[in-house]
Amino acid sequence: MFEGLSDKLSGIFDKLTRRGALSEADVAEALREVRRALLEADVALDVVRTFTDSVQAKAVGANVVKSVSPGQMVVKIVNDVLVETLGSTAQPIDLDAAPPVAIMLVGLQGAGKTTTAAKIAKRLKERHGKRVLMASLDVKRPAAQEQLAILGRQVEVDTLSIVPGQDPVKIAKRAEETARREGYDVVLLDTAGRTHIDEPLMEEMAQIKAVSKPHEILLVVDALTGQDAVNLAKNFDDRVGLTGIVLTRVDGDGRGGAALSMRAVTGKPIKLIATGEKMDALDEFSPQRIANRILGMGDIVALVEKAAAAVDQEQAQRAAERMAKGKFDLQDLADQLAMMEKVGGFGGIMGLLPGVAKMKEQIASANIDDKMFKRQRAIILSMTPKERRNPDILKASRKRRIAAGSGAKVEEINKLLKQHRQMADMMKAMGGGKGGGMMAKAAQMMGMGGMQAPSPEQLAQLQKKMGGALPPGAGPSIPAAPPASAFSAKPTLPGLGGGGGFLSGLNPFGKKK
């Protein structure tokens, strides 16, 4: 999601920031390109107009042309307007009402209401400790009620028993009564998909609302929706009065136009985004974060969070300490590869890093994929602990044994060893230096002091900093992100200034093709 748009925008802003002075014509030209980029990303036309007008007005007011770094200033203004458009603060689901709190999900056919219902239920149960009852009011699509029941079993949330032939309004009533009688905190109503011009169904929706008096009415919208998103949201809002929006399929490669338009058009907050097919792939919507991502700064905060959750802190600290001393053996490499997998594979990390949009082609041509990392790990795991700690003892016969054990060829083992040697050298150069190693410097920059894995407070602090005004292109901050061992192999990302050591260092198999 958003990559396409961020590619375009970063291209436009690159041109701007590279120049020392900007004329008003330059800014106008850039804004025309921004307009087109937004339209191609399916942002609603009216929203685009307001957006560019607002940027223009602010750019003039801020005296961009005369400012020290005009390009940066424009980027900052665009960022601010973007955040404004997306809604300035995150708004989670509101459960502040007398139980059972009813939440109603509405939307077009195929938007993802049923799956979203189960995801929300799971979230409320696990994170908020609520007793949730789900009820499917979809008597239109064959097996829709069964689908919710099955999902309910999967996430261990109760669903209302299915009474064949009962109409949606009656089911809503029965759900409310059951929830009250049996002491549920939340009752989630999944409704049938409907087009907003289908009068009988819109009327039915209004009746369901009247019966169940939902505290939250969430419109579930496919993030890939085009210009029609606006009509859709308006019509649903007019009929039932939405309280919020859930965007689904945010893991698609759409350009996020719906995300940008929705808030602006309806004035309703986007409360949640669904980011995958798994039942826990549901996130709170953070305008600041999404704005960062759209502007091509990468979602550093998300990366930090994700890594923090996946990485064993102690292990990370051990690895970080070793690296600070310039030590890096095969076991460390294996640990890193394992962590990489946990964080979502190479692709997962790269998608979140700033500036990566620009190096996508480079990555593709380098032929890096997660399978390769798995194979490398397999090779290392076929070694004895002694061999891992001390690769120098690996002679021909040991290599043959390892090759047989891991199903690899001896050449592959040689390549891995060579790559490891390069990385170890790099580590030495970075960590071994007298206090002024790159790693240490980077860490200091982030105010983290030494090279320890950060405490939760530090993490929070870091997130705040990164979510805030981190200038684009602040490359060295990435390796300082806490799970030092997961990322430290790439202190400088190509395209972010610096030596570009990462790809050449970590890509033994693809390189020589």
């Binding site: 087109r36 339209l39 191609e40 990303a41 399916d42 036309l45 077009l108 056919q109 195929g110 938007a111 993802g112 799956t115 008597v139 239109k140 699509r141 064959p142 097996a143 829709a144 069964e146 689908q147 919710l148 029941a149 099955i150 999902l151 999967q154 064949p164 032939g165 087009t195 907003h196 011009i197 289908d198 009988p200 169904l201 496919d222 890939l224 929706t225 085009g226 210009q227 029609d228 998103a229 009509n231 859709l232 019509n235 399929r249 893991d251 698609g252 490669d253 759409g254 350009r255 136009g257 719906a258 097919e277 692709g347």
Partner: protein, 346 residues
């Protein structure tokens, strides 16, 4: 845009005890709306938006750069995409600059342009009768309407006297198999299925064998919805195609990509990825019964030239129609439905 009565009919069909839907569908609609009526009905909102926009633009002033830009905006709003919108706006501008031009003329040019793009891709779906069973693989992103489209196609072909077999290849989504089985019961078509979570490729293999044994004319293979940027899921789709070829070397005989009309410019990325992975042979566009939409087909036709076989303009099992460029283009431009549009604009 079905009437209330029809809704009830559909409703009854859905929750009745099955029966023969073809006959029931006939009974529900004593006076069947013509294809044209339904298309214009489905598209009327979108064409109204365009008609209104164009009328506003051209009844007032001369054709200048600003006007052309606004025309472009009107088309963008209909999801034609920036490139197609610019091109069509350019056509309108060519040789007419600084001249006064009436809304009707603009509409005609718009229809012409859209039609010229769509004409080459409006090709009917052809079933090669020498292939038995004729194997159709249906693919698309989540929620685009694959299973419903399969049900509509099965109803259509069963009605034409063909023996249709369905394969419930969406083994991922909860109750997707159940959904297709219910359709199969209603249509009296055998459904080949495997438990949830089973390997869809294996199911495809079995379904082809089973269809051959039963002497089915057509095998319609459903698949799980997948976002086109999820490489692992696309690899799974590639595997399904590969395994199908083991059972029948030239299978699948047709690969239909189901596109949701509400999707914007991302539809292009979808066509691109599914074409590469599964060798899409034709498109079906669903959900054309809402507001302002359909324009993306123009952009897709320009870029890929893939045949557009059907469009879905409603939820009834017969709300799937062959795609005709002229009708679609004229409906989008608001021609031939002037009376209706004027009435509603008034």
């Amino acid at each position: 845009m079905s009437e209330a009565e029809e809704k009830k009919g559909l409703f009854a069909r859905l929750f009745g005890r099955g029966g023969t839907p073809a006959a029931e569908a006939g009974a529900d609609r004593p006076k069947k709306r013509s294809w044209w009526e339904r298309l214009t009905g489905g598209l009327s909102r979108s064409s109204q938006a365009i008609v209104q926009g164009i009328s506003d633009l051209f009844s007032k002033r001369k054709l200048d750069a600003l006007t052309l830009e606004e025309l472009e905006d009107v088309l963008i709003r209909a999801d034609l995409g920036v490139a197609a919108a610019q091109r069509i706006a350019g056509k309108v501008g060519a040789a007419r600059y600084e001249k006064t031009i009436g809304p009707d003329e603009v509409r005609a040019i718009l229809a012409e342009e859209v039609e010229s793009v769509l004409e080459p891709v409006a090709r009917p779906f052809e079933i090669d009768e020498t292939k038995k069973p004729f194997i159709v693989l249906v693919v698309g992103v989540n929620g685009s309407g694959k299973t419903t489209t399969i049900a509509k196609l099965a109803a259509k072909w069963t009605g034409e006297g063909k023996k249709v077999m369905l394969a419930a290849g969406d083994t991922f989504r909860a109750a997707a198999v159940e959904q297709l089985r219910i359709w199969g019961e209603r249509l009296n078509s055998p459904v080949c299925y495997a438990p949830e979570g089973a390997d869809a490729a294996g199911l495809a293999f079995d379904a082809i064998k089973s269809a051959r044994e039963r002497g089915s004319d057509i095998l319609l293979m459903d698949t799980a919805g997948r976002l086109q940027n999820r490489t692992e899921l696309m690899a799974e789709l590639a595997k399904i195609v590969r395994v199908m070829k083991k059972a029948e070397p030239d299978a699948p005989h047709a690969v239909l990509l189901v596109l949701d009309a509400t999707v914007g410019q991302n539809a292009i990325a979808q066509v691109d990825a599914f074409e590469r992975t599964a060798g899409v042979t034709g498109l079906v566009m669903t959900k054309l019964d809402g507001t302002a939409r359909g324009g993306i087909l123009v952009a897709i036709a320009e870029k890929y030239g893939l045949p557009i076989h059907f469009i879905g303009v409603g939820e009834g099992s017969d709300d799937l129609e062959p795609f005709t460029a002229r009708d679609f283009a004229r409906a989008i431009a608001g021609l031939d439905s002037d009376a209706e549009a004027d009435e509603q604009n008034a």
